[in-house]
Amino acid sequence: MISIRGLTKRFGDKAVLDNIDLDIASGERVVIIGPSGTGKSTLLRCLNFLDRPDAGQISIGDLTVDAARARKGEILALRRRTGFVFQNYALFANKTAKENIMEALVTVQRLPREDAAKRALAILSETGLADKADSYPAALSGGQQQRVGIGRAMALDARLMLFDEPTSALDPEWVGEVLDLMRRVAEQKQTMLIVTHEMQFAREIADRVLFMEGGRIVEAGTPAEIFEAPRDARLQRFLSRVGR
């Protein structure tokens, strides 16, 4: 169970996140949609303290972090319970595909190297990249890099996986394989919070869809409610622009 209360982030005097409340049930798949610059990515980044929120509380399981006075140890603990998938993949450039996945296992979870390697290879097989284990990111396609990126986040066994526009930087030919892998992750009852512009995918995978604008969650509902019967005028306008 994940619970977010009053999460607020300001850049200067502009509130990019304005007092966000959100509960996510274990195993739930929540997709966030909305126009650019409305705080979707910032929400994800604040949940992982890549951007430090100014106020609010984040609870994941039995860990509660108060944003205003979070200490180093709490931030690390929070990060270790949340996997993060970046728009630009952000694989460790000096490490092979396998080493990218092993990294958290070795340094954070302190697994012996052989065990970590075994687990990393198992994850690579799930991502369909077992044959690329020893390839460096520079030698992989965008789609392959993003699949390793998802694998790296999977290795954390996180309570919550955050996907920050995971297909936005990809050439169209690679989008399908990344979405397929996300479907497989979803099948494992992984709790997921996804920011995406892939509306068809959102409709198909989401238990709940949130529409954000101006740093607030303006409307929330099932995919059917959001896509078939949008109430808020801003959501209606957004959907007509993106052509659903």
Partner: protein, 224 residues
């Protein structure tokens, strides 16, 4: 102008070569010390610890801002007059210490630039999996910065290797000192110093070959 006394030069080669281990040892010790210190200084400059940052800036400013020879004289001849326990410091130690501090200041700046050159996404990715600041630096950022900094660092190493000849001015009999002594007896200064020059040149050329190998190694992750 007379011809070169080749026979004398050939005879001198093994004599001077006998001092190559000392030169290499001073350069290696100086480089090892300078590398460790430079990394610490560079990381501090990036992380910026209050107060300490001010001291590091002062350190770098002084050791870049004054000539190596002046620093060596200051340590070896000057400091023992004011700090008594330094009177027992020998020339080799003083030279290595001076080279270490001097080159650490230069190398710190190029390592700092290399650290800042590592893409921001690499920091965020390391943070996102819950790495501590130290793990992030050691395992992700510094290895990538090393690749960028390597050519300039090898350059400083070459400079340091040649710089060990200044130990001669602290009374150390190294390659230069040995040549000076030999030449004082034979009066064949040109021949003696030419032998020294060629031996330095060959050592540096060997290093340059090693540099190519090092750069290929550090680049292996970045070949498409």
């Amino acid at each position: 102008m007379q011809g070169l006394d080749l026979e004398y030069m050939l005879g001198l080669v093994p004599v001077i070569l006998g001092y190559v281990p000392l030169t290499l040892a001073m350069a290696a010790a100086g480089m090892a010390g300078a590398l460790v210190l430079a990394v610490l200084l560079a990381v501090e400059r990036v992380v910026r610890v209050p107060v300490l940052d001010w001291l590091v800036v002062l350190f770098i400013s002084f050791f870049r801002g004054t000539p190596l020879l002046v620093q060596l004289f200051l340590f070896y001849y000057g400091l023992p007059q004011v700090v008594s326990f330094l009177t027992r410091i020998d020339g080799v130690t003083a030279a290595v210490l001076g080279l270490t501090l001097h080159f650490a200041a230069y190398m710190a700046e190029s390592i700092r630039a290399a650290i800042l050159g590592v893409d921001r996404s690499q920091w965020e990715a390391a943070q996102s999996i819950g790495m501590t600041q130290a793990q992030l630096m050691m395992r992700i950022i510094l290895p990538q910065a090393a690749r960028v900094a390597a050519p300039t660092l090898v350059n400083y190493f070459i400079d340091m290797l040649n710089g060990t000849s200044l130990a001669f001015t602290l009374g150390v009999t190294e390659m230069m000192g040995a040549a000076q002594k030999e030449a004082a007896g034979s009066f064949l200064y040109f021949e003696a110093f030419l032998v020294v020059a060629v031996i330095y040149w060959i050592m540096v050329e060997t290093l340059s070959q090693a540099q190519k190998w090092l750069e290929t190694y550090l680049n292996k992750a970045f070949v498409r």
